[in-house]
């Protein structure tokens, strides 16, 4: 459970009053639009195509049931009764009125939530693996470190007006990377050195957008105590030398590339030497204190329910498929991690109604110690479910639409809001996702295809992370018509890579058939063990080109 202390409550309350004051001055005309813009953005408030959009921070994706219920109420009282889970574990409201936002923030503060730095050219909310603290293979729980970074970066007086937005992600798993750290401005991989001490491998300069890049390693091992002083050195170098003359060249990746990773690392080391031993260096006591903000729930000593589960799975094929796809191994015997899939065909990926938010809250209370999590894939997680209650849970969530056994499969699409909602988009993304989902409704066929990331963005800002989809789809505008460009071979995991563009773009109506052709090439060419990416790497892009453009 993640909770605030009195200092967090005080700072959050003061923030609400500050934003109330700023909104009042903006509406009264005392703050010009361009002066209010960065202030409201740093409070998560965009002005979008149809209405303002408020992005609410969900640190580490964790939501207590009372927070879920409060969000549900806010969507009813101030919005249209639904919210949207984003690919960075945030929650968005699509239709709030600007004048209401201070009241919404006050309601959020009551349940220890906020919208701090969810947008704007500042350090954004730090993200991590949605399975943190419950998975078996993590080096250490990453959340205390994320919280250390969150507090350091919140209202940091030196870094509130960076050249561009800045995103930090932390991963702790040895075998997987659900936080996509190598495509972040800073990616931190928890590691142990030869002496068994904890530290980080530091990637800087990854990112998507117009110039997608996998972040190079600029330090192989950073002792945990040096985390903040080193981040401060990176940010100071970026704040001073990052480009400010061209918005499209302002991300840190451009600076790292211009200086070369080695040249950039040298500058950081030189800056760091001055501040390494300052009081911002962490202490053992401080790290221990941050660990107490993430307490384990009161697990019961329950036997592993393997036999009983095996029987239930044998007797019920649909349950078996759900377990195989949507349930993950928990570090604690007798428990399991359950992902509630929110990608029911016909619903925009990530959209969640007030009723669903309350259903998730009820499920969290009944099955998972009152806590749920939001994932980068826009699903929800119950992280601590007793294995002997899985069958009962599955029966309960099927009619709710949370049990589609397609996790990490082709139809578990990552998708931005696209041209239906977003003023930046060149093209709609949600109808493309839906058309593809309809084409691949047969679950047996989906399982045969296996794990596959299909990511869709409505423009090159890449909120749908199309560059790192095994199959990526990018909406483009051609003389006022919406077209879609496909890339293949991307990955956001440990083998992070930017996908290669297949060729000329396609009309929307052709997209399901084009995806089908790509899958056919894989199915025709694969060996028994090969996943989509393996086959792609072995045979290259040409066979796909030949089939699709035949």
């Amino acid at each position: 459970m993640y909770v605030y202390d009195k200092h967090d409550r005080q700072i959050t309350a003061e923030r609400v009053e500050q934003f109330r004051d700023q909104t009042r001055r903006a509406l009264a005309g005392d703050l010009a639009e361009d002066e209010f813009l960065p202030l409201r953005l740093q409070n998560g408030l965009y002005v979008q195509r149809l209405a303002p959009m408020l992005r609410i921070a969900v640190p580490y994706g964790m939501l207590r049931s009372n927070q879920l219920r409060r969000l549900a109420r806010i969507t009813r009282d101030y919005d249209k009764g639904y919210a949207h889970f984003t690919t960075r574990q945030n929650v968005q409201l699509n239709w709030p009125a600007v004048a209401d936002v201070p009241d919404i923030l006050a309601e959020l503060a009551e349940v220890e939530m906020h919208a701090n730095q969810t947008s704007g050219n500042c350090i954004r909310n730090t993200t991590t693996d949605q399975f943190s603290g419950v998975q078996a293979d993590e080096i250490a729980d990453p959340r205390p470190y994320c919280e250390i970074i969150r507090q350091w970066s919140t209202f940091h007086p030196e870094f509130a007006f960076l050249p561009r937005k800045f995103k930090v992600a932390v991963n702790a798993s040895e075998h997987s990377d659900r936080a996509a750290i190598q495509v972040h401005d800073i990616g931190l991989q928890l590691v142990r050195n030869g002496r068994g001490e904890l530290g980080f491998r530091v990637h800087v300069g990854g990112g998507l957008g117009r110039t997608p890049m996998v972040g190079p390693v600029i330090r192989e091992y950073l002792p945990e105590k040096d985390l903040l002083t080193y981040l401060e050195a990176v940010l100071r170098v970026y704040n001073r030398y990052g480009r400010r003359d061209n918005k499209f060249k302002a991300r840190i990746k451009i600076l790292v590339k211009a200086l070369t990773p080695d040249g950039f690392a040298e500058k950081v080391e030189a800056e760091w030497a001055h501040i390494k031993d300052s009081p911002t260096q962490l202490t053992d006591e401080a790290i221990a204190k941050f660990q107490t903000y993430f307490t384990e729930p009161a697990y019961e000593e329950v036997p592993d329910a393997a036999d009983r589960l095996a029987t239930q799975r044998f007797e019920n094929r649909a349950f078996d498929q759900w377990i195989a796809n949507n349930v993950d191994t928990h570090k604690k015997p007798g428990y399991a991690i359950v992902t509630l899939t929110m990608k029911k065909t016909g619903t925009p990926p990530g959209d969640v109604s007030d009723r669903q938010l309350e259903q998730i809250a009820d499920l969290a209370d009944e099955y998972s110690f009152g806590e749920a999590r939001v994932t980068h894939q826009q699903n929800a997680v119950l992280a601590d479910v007793r294995q002997d209650r899985l069958y009962e849970l599955w029966q309960l969530i099927r009619p709710m639409g949370f049990a589609t056994a397609n996790l990490n499969k082709l139809t578990d699409v990552i998708c931005c809001p696209g041209g239906d909602y977003c003023s930046l988009a060149n093209a709609k993304s949600i109808p493309v996702a839906e058309a593809i989902q309809r084409k691949f409704e047969d679950l047996d066929y989906l399982y045969d295809i296996g794990d596959l990331d299909l990511n869709i963005s409505g423009c090159m800002n890449a909120c749908g992370h199309h560059h790192v989809g095994n199959i990526g789809v990018l909406g483009v505008d051609k003389k006022g018509q919406e077209f879609y460009q496909i890339s293949l071979g991307g990955s956001s995991h440990h083998d992070a890579a930017i996908g290669k563009i297949l060729g000329p773009s396609f009309a929307r109506d052709d997209m399901p058939e084009v995806i089908k052709s790509i899958i056919d090439v894989y199915v025709d060419n694969r060996t028994r063990e090969e996943a989509f990416l393996d086959t792609y790497h072995r045979i290259g892009i040409d066979p796909f080109k030949e089939r699709v453009y035949a």
Binding site: D21, Q151, L228, T280, K289
Partner: protein
Amino acid sequence: MPEVITADGSIINDDWVVVERPAEGESLDLPDQPALIPADLWLAGKEHYEGRSDVGVWFDSHQEPEILEGVVNELGVIAVNFPKFADGRGYSIARLLRERLGYENELRAIGDVLLDQLQFMKRCGFDRFVLRADKNAGEAVRCLNFFSLGYQAATDTDIPLFRRRAS
């Protein structure tokens, strides 16, 4: 006479003027009142300004404060220009002047200085603020004190909140 806001939000008046960088080939003319001149020009003609308490310097946001290493406290006033309020380089310049170079005298924010950035500036070591002319200096006290505490160390405190919490 321009209004200047102090770190505690009170309003004083002084007559420091900012002398723009002269065009290529032109020489710098000092006015008959306290003047802030480009920092690199002051450094280049330093012996000329020896003992002149009515001469200070200003940095533009792309300049490096490190050029004043070792001589910074010979100056009574240093200003940092914010060409646009969203250009955040001035915050780093201020912290470097204070924390790296040990500057102890007056540090003023000039240029596109608005109300909502005052507390950040103060935390980075500024103690004088020349607000953009259209802004109401009467609101400065409130804006300088939106927050009663901060999480991180900066120029105003070298003890981050985590050290206060742990003890």
